[in-house]
Symmetry: C2
Subunit: 438 residues, 2 copies
Amino acid sequence: MRSVRIGIVGLGNVGSGTLRLLRRNVDQIERKLGFPLEVSAVCSRSVHTKPGDAVALHPTAFRTTSWNELVTRPDVDIVAELVGGTTVAKDIIESALTAGKPVVTANKELLADHGAELWKQFRERGVTLGLEASVAGGIPVLTALRDGIAGDSIDAMIGILNGTSNYILTEVERTGAPFDQVLGEAQALGYAEADPSADIDGYDARSKLAILAALAFGERVRPEQIPVEGIRRIRTIDFAYAGRLGHTIRLLATARRESEGLRLAVRPALVDKSAILASVTGSYNALWVHGQGGDTFYYGRGAGPEPTGVAVVSDLMAAARTLRKPNGQPAPPFAHMSLDDHTPVSSGTEERQFFLRFRVRDRPGILAGLAAILAEQGVSIEAVLQEPHFDKSDLPFVVTLEPAKRHALEAALEVMRGLDFLVDDPLALPIEPTLTAS
Amino acid sequence: MRSVRIGIVGLGNVGSGTLRLLRRNVDQIERKLGFPLEVSAVCSRSVHTKPGDAVALHPTAFRTTSWNELVTRPDVDIVAELVGGTTVAKDIIESALTAGKPVVTANKELLADHGAELWKQFRERGVTLGLEASVAGGIPVLTALRDGIAGDSIDAMIGILNGTSNYILTEVERTGAPFDQVLGEAQALGYAEADPSADIDGYDARSKLAILAALAFGERVRPEQIPVEGIRRIRTIDFAYAGRLGHTIRLLATARRESEGLRLAVRPALVDKSAILASVTGSYNALWVHGQGGDTFYYGRGAGPEPTGVAVVSDLMAAARTLRKPNGQPAPPFAHMSLDDHTPVSSGTEERQFFLRFRVRDRPGILAGLAAILAEQGVSIEAVLQEPHFDKSDLPFVVTLEPAKRHALEAALEVMRGLDFLVDDPLALPIEPTLTAS
């Protein structure tokens, strides 16, 4: 089937991440859409002199330094504006609209300042404007607000929307190092910019909050009307005192609907350590939303080429689907889905550490006997734990295992079922590998 | 503008929650869509004898006990199938498709067994099939997988997909009460059914995992091919031992893409307490997704009339938008959005507890002086905290305040700025009210 053709303006981090994902996931994208996406043109100032590895992945793409040429080319069906800023970017988007072409953008400053007008213009023309990448890059919060919980009426939102600030705060807390030292390290690692003001003084989070307020409440709020306070004055000692109160400190972007209007702010605040927002560490972002359907919470990478690239590619796919198949939305995710049953991999071959809990009638030699049965199947014991317990006729203890295949463990459990000192069958629980690192 | 008309079949918990939300949010729904949604017909066995409060909210809706009559009525544009089960529900959905009408369903069993065929039939006809309510009711995970992170290629998912099991496990952990007692209490409270097997033996989570596998990987998996193990054998003592290992226990639905195929299972497992999944307590659900864009995590209510109703209403809105405006998707969330700036409520009127950190040159009477300044603005001190510190020329301490208006606090801070014993301006952080309760 004929491809939908993408023109990409701006080949920085986000543009490169987008180009890499469009190549790496090319087959899956076609399976989902039912037709391919093709990068037909790319534009940046240095595309001829320093095209970069990501551009080389799309050798047939036309290369130009003129965004205007790209936007007006007949072989560009959808335009991705990934240059940032509020001047040229606005011209690119408006030119694409004039040409009747859907636009995908990651531009939070522009949307915070001019989102409402742009949406109105695109809506009037019946053209798609995709903006998932503009807030909390890798987390599909805008899709959630626009579609997933569209039927809810939102009362409040609390976001951790700036990964750099969250990284610095949680590093100060974790290491006890002074703020300026952690900032310097973050700059050296590329997590913070040479001029860190947009991040650590809260302006970046404020732009995102203005976009979220428009999406959640349908109100246009100028970013400069939102009170903002950054994290420069937070010290190690503040975490110590907050900790004594059972709290930690996060830079929060908050929005609440009140009878007189919206109450909005970006400020560092104390957050209860048991609250799920307190579990957001490192450069991760998160958004907590309170509506009539209860709370929902969204968490993921807020920035970076791949996370933001996923948002751009997802928006490109939605725009392409609309261009190609105006009906049939919302569609199932895979256009090409076999009706044959997929046979899952046997669980016996999964290798895991295991937690084995036994209940035994105590007598000498039990552990040796169990260990021998496990050893016969090639399964090694890592540790034995036993809490004090006084009922010697029903004594629980736990053995943890070195990584083992489930079928080997099950063979051992089958043998153990015949042992007369067991009060009941051993309970075997896999130990799930650690899920997140930040 | 003419309304899009909804027919609802099934008036149990989910149907009633849907009817309540369609009434309560009627204005906002119209503002978002640009046209109203109207409930034109409702169907249940007892709609004439016991219509219920939710039906009474829609007095003009036609009432029938015949789903076939509802589906074929010319004043029904979209059908919501909320009866559950796999027999009549399938007939309702297929009849609606025959009539060319979009369908929204919350039916996980049916989708787990026949989702792939249904999607294919709806896709071929270009008709919308909405299914957000079928998995993790209040959390828009299907929208996220289908649209929000469509551009990603997912490697692994780990879900807590059954609220009843999670409630029981976390109550056993929290209270130390025996499993059977907690189950009995959950049944008395209506959190668990008289026959709890579908929940606590893992079958409910398994149906949801089959749907997620289809959406994330494009593979059709029969639920009965997924290994399942419930939570009946978990005891208080298991939490004690897991805790000694820094872990807790959750019923996990896991899916991993491996070279040989998908590895799927529903099983209780040990989860590191520092992992974000361990923070999911009570009847909440959650899904952790690992892809190339990094991890994303979704959390919220998995069941209940309002959370599941939000999913149904959101799907109805998407289907209505497609019927009415085939182009222009994805649309901005509010069709009617003013271009006037909304002036946020002044932050001065916000009432909060505050954390005030001072750095002082120590001398007698400091606290009394600060307290007097606060008292003059009507602000009361809740507690004073001071960690041992030996530099008397730069001594930090913290005062927490009873709830106070920000402008009163700021007036006090303004006065304090003139005090010669302060090393720098006091740092004032709001204490964010607790965010989630489960």
